[in-house]
């Protein structure tokens, strides 16, 4: 059997047995999402040096902040593909979007100096996942 045919068969069998197929689409930000959050944003913030003021001057108003203002999050939401569900959505008219969420979580000490920052990436199919900030 030719390798191409074999590969195609493998894709079809895998798809049928798994029940869904991920269809990659051009990436685009969800409506209303922040768009200035990149992998480089994490490096912009230096623990032990940057303060809450510096962080906001660089990234703008945070998307979420704890009541004591010692933890804050910058978030973005991007569509990266669609999911084709066999049997459930045979005509493909209700393809659920595959969303990638990015959360830049910043922890500050009582003086407002950054002590830690970490980027969390999560894939979801519609519901907003946990930011990983507890």
């Amino acid at each position: 059997m030719k390798p191409a045919l074999l590969a195609m068969l493998a894709v079809i069998i895998t798809s049928l047995t798994s029940g869904c197929v991920f269809i990659p689409t051009p990436h685009y930000y969800a409506m209303g999402s922040r768009e200035n959050l990149t992998a480089q944003s994490t490096n912009l913030i230096q623990p032990g040096r940057d303060t809450i003021e510096n962080v906001m001057l660089k990234l703008g108003e945070p998307d979420a902040i704890s009541p004591d203002e010692r933890r804050m999050t910058y978030a973005s939401e991007k569509a990266i593909g669609e999911l084709f569900l066999f049997m459930v959505d045979p005509d493909g008219s209700k393809l659920p979007a595959v969303l990638q969420y990015q959360f830049l979580n910043i922890v500050l000490d009582k003086n407002g100096v950054v002590t830690n920052r970490f980027l969390v990436k999560q894939i979801s199919f519609g519901n907003l996942p946990d930011s990983g900030m507890h």
Partner: protein, 118 residues
Amino acid sequence: MRVKISVILLFVLVFAGCATEQFDAHPDLLNFLSDGKTTKQEAVLKLGQPSGSFEAEKILTYRLGFDPKNKGYYLVERGPDMGLDRAYSTWLNTKFSLVLIFDVQNVLREHSLVEVTK
């Protein structure tokens, strides 16, 4: 006559949903901001209620839209969080986040206009 009115009404109803929101953009909206001079009172009088206030009101933030036609800014209220019970804000119609840092005398110490959407 009745047919004419019905047709007009139909058009109004059909195209009402296509109307775009109009914003009153001002190219000079932020010209008054001057580090070391502008007071918090002036800023609030000029820009209104901030979208965010942090560190005992030492940091105020505003959301701004931008009209490329006249290069003007307009203020955007922090909108509802898309009605999806999400704890995160949305940036609909917003281009910039204006961050104002005030000193203990409530005088503008530093400010920045951060582009949050492309």
